[in-house]
Amino acid sequence: MKIGVVTFPGTLDDRDAARAVRLAGGEAVSLWHADTNLHDVDAVVLPGGFSYGDYLRCGAIAAQAPVMQTIIEKANEGLPVLGICNGFQVLVESHLLPGGLIRNEHQHFICRDQKLIVENVDTAWTNQFTLGEEITIPLKNGEGGYIADGETLKRLEGEGLITFRYSEVNPNGSMNNIAGLRNARGNVVGLMPHPEHAVEPGFGPDTKVAMRSGVDGLKFFTSVLKSLVEA
């Protein structure tokens, strides 16, 4: 299974995302922002970083990139797409997911091991989790506050599109503790925290068992591989 990992100028976590794909058993294919060709990948990851410096609005300039035009088209046809942090912002700016992400309420960048509740397991990227499961993956952002108007929030809640919620601490002032969303079809998922930083023992968050041994993020990638096999 080939999973594309997009690199925009200013993308930072592309190598980490590719490593996560490999550790999950997939083949990582790097996709270039200026290329409209997706090279026959079966799914796409939009990794974290500061595409185009996050200038203007996070993800806004990247959303205009040639590669995104193809991804938007294919996502609407069902291609699994995961947007992590800056990738989530790109998805929102591309209108593949609703709402917006703004400056953290406390005005600072924050990097922490974040607890999340998995609220939805019927997506291409979350089917290996159990509903209500608490997971810990790193969060690191300056503009991760999720906002949407009342109507949109109501719809997200009503249709069960909220996929992850912050647990214990709301690190950035997100409305309704929203950490991640899915689209109606379940092929597109975006979240602020970084599953690709919790995939390899020794380099993830601390756990009760051992330092830096958390690998809760791996299931995002095994989920998509599973859904592709079954598709």
Binding site: E93, G100, R103, Q107, G173
Partner: protein, 81 residues
């Protein structure tokens, strides 16, 4: 040379954490403001005096790209001498 100014503000009913933080500071310093909101002033410079067409193009860019309609409003697109 005249330029085009695009002004973008966060939507009135949405959270503006930066404005809130600045507003609180101003209040602490004794200003009697009620609310502060912080948006963007985007200056588009040209090598020539901007034409009607440039203004039309700027208005379109303001709506499609320079602002995000989900969370922001374009409050003005004007030519400034």
């Amino acid at each position: 040379m005249p330029k085009i100014i695009v002004e973008v503000m966060p939507k009135a009913d949405l959270l503006d954490p930066q404005g809130k933080a600045v507003g609180n500071s101003l209040k602490r310093a004794g200003h009697n403001v009620s609310t502060v909101r912080i948006g963007k002033r985007i200056e588009l410079h040209f090598d020539h005096t901007p034409t009607e067409a440039d203004l039309e193009a700027a208005k379109k860019a303001a709506a499609d790209f320079l602002s995000n309609g989900v969370i922001e409003d374009v409050v003005a697109v004007t030519v400034e001498a």
